[in-house]
Amino acid sequence: MEVNLIVESLKFLVLGMSTVFMFLVLLVLVLNLQAKIIMKYFPTKMENINVGHSSSELSQQGNLAVVAAIAASLKSYKQSK
């Protein structure tokens, strides 16, 4: 029995692209859902930095850390330009 290679390969095209897209669409949906759940129930603690800032008892060491962080971010900003 002669198999028409082109027809067969077109079938592969349909099967393959739909599977890849199905997989990735599912991945996108799940990732969006996952991000929502994680942000709602396990929010990252960003407040720490603000608390440190507002308190008057900022130690010398803490000050140095802040200065170092600013310097590092400036440096990376300059490098990225």
Partner: protein, 436 residues
Amino acid sequence: MKKVIIYLLMLVSLSFMTTSLYASDVAKENLNQDYKSKSVPELFGSLYESTGLNAIINPTEGLVSHGTVVSVFNQSGGRIMMMAICFVLFYLAIAKGFEPLLLIPIAFGGFLANIPLADIAGPDGFLGILFNMGVSTGLFPIIIFMGVGAMTDFGPLLANPKTALLGGAAQFGIFGTIVGAAALSQYTGVIDFSLKEAAAIGIIGGADGPTSIFVASKLAPDLLGAIAVAAYSYMALVPIIQPPIMKALTTKEERKIKMEQLREVSKLEKIVFPLTVMVICILILPDATPLIGALTFGNFVKESGMAKRLSDTMENSLINIVTIFLGLSVGSKLAAEKFLVPETLGILVLGLIAFSMGTAGGVIMAKVMNKFSTHKINPLIGSAGVSAVPMAARVSNKEGMKEDPSNMLLMHAMGPNVAGVIGSAVAAGVLLSIFK
């Protein structure tokens, strides 16, 4: 009592020694019987017969190497041609900097495989042993995937998941090329690919070396050398192949689109991500789990942050060791009798088409998505959907900067880029499941 036992033992061992000495005497006599006295010119004559020079100048009819009969041309001119090709690959790797980590071992493996008489790429040569150990079994590509997983940061994909679709569209190159390969063998008499071989060639369009080798070793082991060389050389040529296609398919305004800043991704999201991918893969396509499983394992170890030694090993020493072995054993398929066939030319042409179609697929998909979405996507990042991490993303970034120097697309392009790795692994799984 003890003394008696020790004496007995010594006696027994002595008797063994004498018998073995006696046996070696007999062997010597046998050897001398085989050896016939030769004159000095005869000795030089037989030495000449075992030189590589003689093997190249006077090829023997019907010589069997690597299990196939090697034609007279492939023993002489073919070998020299292949060595020349290996030297071109050395040049590209060293002087031009094209994927030197891979091309140097591959080209040297090819160089070794073409040495006459030594049969290094044969089943008993060290290249053959490496090949049988890691490539025919599909082991090396899997270990490389672990390292890739441990190196890759999926953060950009997590921050903007819909860019994963671009990585899907770029896989059009794979399946489009299968159609092309089938059409080529249907309408031309010279090149005749079976459907399995067409599928193995198409996977070059995924722009993913390990995946290509994994699929080719399962579907078309004979074409492995040409497929691996095509895949890696086109990956190295991404900065040359992609930009003209990207420019032709986009307008100046589209290339200037600025995308919004990516959000912060929490550590927990990154840890959960490999497991999520794994679950989806298990449910939809278990055939892709060897590749995806290794990738997610590497990534999970990295993101867990608790096994730094393991992730360090995977992304450095382990991947380097396996890259050496993989390169050499792929190179062993550059032996003249395997490589100098019309199919190779077909594979090189089809591989280029596969790459171009993948690039176009990603760019067009980005334009389609812009029609339906309010958050605009710069179509230049679509081309990064072919996996070639991180080269393709860098190309997107560079092209974007050409239009607007303040437009940083690199992190945005990493999203489709890493999704492309997953996408081509899924495509590989589909192809393997078809021919099961």
